[in-house]
Amino acid sequence: MPTSAEFDQMIKSGELIESPGEMTPEYLRELKHTLIVSGDTELISAPAYYLAAKRAPSINAFMTGIAIIQDELAHAHIAYHILEELGEDQEKLIFSRDPKSFRYPYAFDVPLESWTELVVANGFYDQAGFCLLGDIHDKCSYGPWKRGLNKVMLEENFHLRNGRTWMKRISAAGGSAKDELQQAVDWMFPLSVEWFGLPDSMKMHSTQLDYRLKGLTNDQLRQWWLSTVVPYCEQIGVKVPAHKETRDGKDVWELDYPFPCEFDAEHKRWDFKKPITWDDVLARWRARGPRNAEMVAMFQEEFHNFRKTHKRES
């Protein structure tokens, strides 16, 4: 194991870390935490998307939905396998953890109940994933993960294109189809904005940045997301509560509502008249949302059934 000074020097030099033997225990802990969030997010997107993909309007659309789910499972596999190489038990992580202890964004706990909501999730949530993972792919100091993300970035791009193409198509159809799209955007846009976490003004220090486990701050990532999503929505005629301003010659994306504010998960409705604190948001995240237990049960139940019927000698 390197000394703390040797390790800091290695991180500063831009060198990649390749094995546990080159890490400090603090780096290992932070790396594992970051990988769990990533693996859990990819994994939970599978049941979340599956429950909506069943409402696909055609066989082709359904197959695209299923292909996306298969990709997400492969991405989860990459993160969990790295955790396994770092000494974690993959089966315990996936199949024996309490649903509430999974570390994915709250947005996935709010049910996606139509094809329209699924494609907006591809347009918004996969864009959030693209920003977060693209930053990690670019900056990550852990070699095996940086290389593993090559595949992930290629495929997230395809999910995003599916989302954008369908959003454009539904918007162009007009009438009730477009109304349904606007309704989905109305609740899913602020949830995606929340995805990036506490604003930089409240989170002064990030160990993940120190260790180059990521390269951009929460606000920088949120701005990146807004800079891609807002112009696209405007272009296809969908209203979003944000606009561009120019400050010191730079484009800045401003929200048109108090951030954070009250969300009614049951009715998928935001109350822009009720600002709340980040403590309130964190409490909502920790309590998890409506679909948490159902989705985790979808992949945990079969594992335990299998184990009961195929008792292994050991």
């Binding site: 390749e18 594992f303 195929h310 292994r312």
Partner: protein, 77 residues
């Protein structure tokens, strides 16, 4: 769970790690694209094909990780 001999426990039994190599074009060298954990080579091939399908590879090969003979690795020059 991993142990020092590259072995893993799965609900279906003992499994080992296979490294997955592939290349896209004939001019490309074969390179490591990832790995899978499976109880035998047949399943490892199935997992590799299904997991690493991000390109239309012109070649894909797997090898048991423990069969790779390393002369040296990063950090041990």
């Amino acid at each position: 769970m991993s142990n020092s001999h590259n072995g893993y426990k799965r609900v279906s039994g003992d499994a080992v790690e296979y490294e997955v190599f592939a290349r896209k074009a004939r001019v490309d060298p074969l390179h490591l694209v990832g790995s899978v954990v499976a109880p035998d080579a047949d399943l490892a091939m199935a997992y590799a094909r299904a997991t690493y399908d991000e390109e239309r590879w012109c070649e894909m090969a797997i090898v048991r990780k423990e069969d790779v003979i390393r002369l040296w690795s990063p950090g041990e020059s």
